[in-house]
């Protein structure tokens, strides 16, 4: 017969179990990051290369999906031009939460070498970015590293709550 009865719903609830749920959910999220194919320019080719035979992205649970509705991760690989900007916003809005964005390459980070009238100077003007990946073009290894860092970031997040609003520069 139990001496003390713990009222789980009142005492802040299941401390141990909750962290485990967090962990389980985060484990699931971080190890099945389905990425949306968002190859815009040259970096998109390196993104394809990291999905192809030698670099084999599937090992990280990252499978490229063509539909925003099925993907958690948007890898913006390449130059975002002003003409294209509205589409990236629309596609980002179509992705289901939780969602993450990796900005791959200098062009996506800051406009890179294209400091011209036609280029958006950094995708973070349009959509919030979680991880900036420098390089022109970043090698596939770097993209893999970026995905691993993103996994680390996801593991540190609280799983239960809705994602906090993200920053737009």
């Amino acid at each position: 017969m139990a001496q003390h009865q713990v009222n789980y719903t009142q005492d802040g609830g299941l401390p141990v179990a909750l962290t485990s749920v967090d962990k389980v959910i985060n484990w699931g999220r971080s190890n099945s990051l389905w990425a949306m194919t968002y190859g815009l320019a040259c970096c998109g080719i390196e993104m394809m290369a990291s999905g192809a035979s030698r670099y084999d992205f599937d090992r990280f649970g990252t499978i490229f999906r063509a539909s925003p509705r099925q993907s958690d991760l948007m890898i913006v690989a390449g130059t975002l031009t002003k003409k294209h900007a509205e589409f990236i916003k629309r596609l980002y809005d179509q992705m289901a939460e939780p969602r993450w964005v990796i900005s791959m390459g200098s062009c996506a980070n800051t406009g890179g070498m294209f400091n011209t009238y036609a280029t958006v100077q950094g995708v973070d003007r349009i959509i919030p970015v979680d991880l900036y990946l420098p390089g022109c073009a970043p090698r596939p290894e770097t993209l893999q590293y970026a995905v691993m860092m993103l996994q680390k970031k996801i593991r540190a997040e609280k799983a239960g709550r809705a994602q906090r609003p993200k920053r737009l520069v």
């Binding site: 484990w27 900007a85 009238y117 691993m148 860092m149």
Partner: protein, 268 residues
């Protein structure tokens, strides 16, 4: 101190001057030196006025009146065997002589020769479309219109091609700044969020200093990770660069560096 000279408009004027330097010319040879080109020139001369003609870097260059461009192209295609229009565009000479130069680059596969037809047009003047002769003129002329604002008569689908339809200005004009004018720099913000959002989003910032490493609410730095929102001074704590956190990750096996194999054989 030396006087400051603005260097942003390099196109208009080089910031240094070289008083003794005289620009050399790329050699031009008379058309008679090449029998094939001479015959082509005769064919054009029979019907149209030729203002100038010479051979430069193995290619015939013919200067004609802008009204003759269709006739000349017709002669070239039907009589002289120039079966491809490989390029067509314009050059902005507005600052110098208030004119555009329009050039057409032709290729004859049977003769293995290339030639260029040029004409000068005034600012508001339109040229005749070569679309009925060469389909490639369709897109080339659209691009010319988009980039320079040169109008083309009788074009099937005169519309901007590279820039969006609601773009302001023609980018390749020498008066158009490289970084874009006011409308260009706000284009995507206006388009997506509306003009009201300009204040919130702010102007384009091309400086890397926009990333503030002390702002832990918004940025994290690899190798120097701290809790969100915490404060620190210059002595940033150094955290190890690792794929996984201290203490391992739930279910995922920890990467053992000494157990790793380096593959040297390419075949594997």
């Amino acid at each position: 101190m030396r006087k400051y000279v603005p260097k942003d408009d390099v196109q208009k004027k080089a910031y240094y001057t070289d008083r003794f330097w005289v620009a050399p010319q790329v050699a031009k040879s008379p058309v008679e030196t090449d029998a094939v080109f001479a015959a082509d020139l005769e064919a054009i001369k029979a019907k149209c006025e030729v203002l100038d003609a010479y051979i430069q870097v193995d290619q015939l260059v013919v200067l004609i009146n802008p009204n003759d461009n269709f006739t000349v192209a017709q002669i070239l295609k039907e009589e002289c065997g120039y079966n491809q229009l490989s390029e067509c565009s314009a050059i902005d000479w507005l600052a110098k002589q208030k004119q555009f130069e329009v050039f057409y680059q032709f290729l004859s596969m049977s003769k293995r020769k290339r030639m260029r037809v040029k004409c000068f047009i005034d600012k508001e003047q339109a040229v005749e479309s070569l679309n009925p002769l060469y389909r490639s003129a369709d897109w080339a002329e659209r691009e010319m219109y988009d980039m320079f604002g040169v109008k083309v008569n009788n074009h099937p689908y005169m519309k901007r091609i590279l820039m969006p339809d609601d773009w302001v200005g023609h980018p390749l004009l020498k008066t158009y700044p490289l970084q874009g004018d006011e409308a260009a720099s706000w284009y995507e913000v206006d388009r997506i969020y509306g003009k009201e959002a300009r204040d919130i989003i702010g102007p384009e910032n091309r400086e890397s200093a926009v990333v503030d490493r002390y702002d832990t609410e918004r940025f994290g730095r690899l190798g120097h990770e701290v809790a969100r929102g915490s404060e620190f001074d210059e002595n940033q704590p150094v955290t190890p660069l690792a794929y996984q956190e201290e203490g391992g990750v739930f279910i995922v096996k920890k990467f053992q560096e000494d157990g790793a194999v380096t593959i040297t054989d390419r075949k594997r």
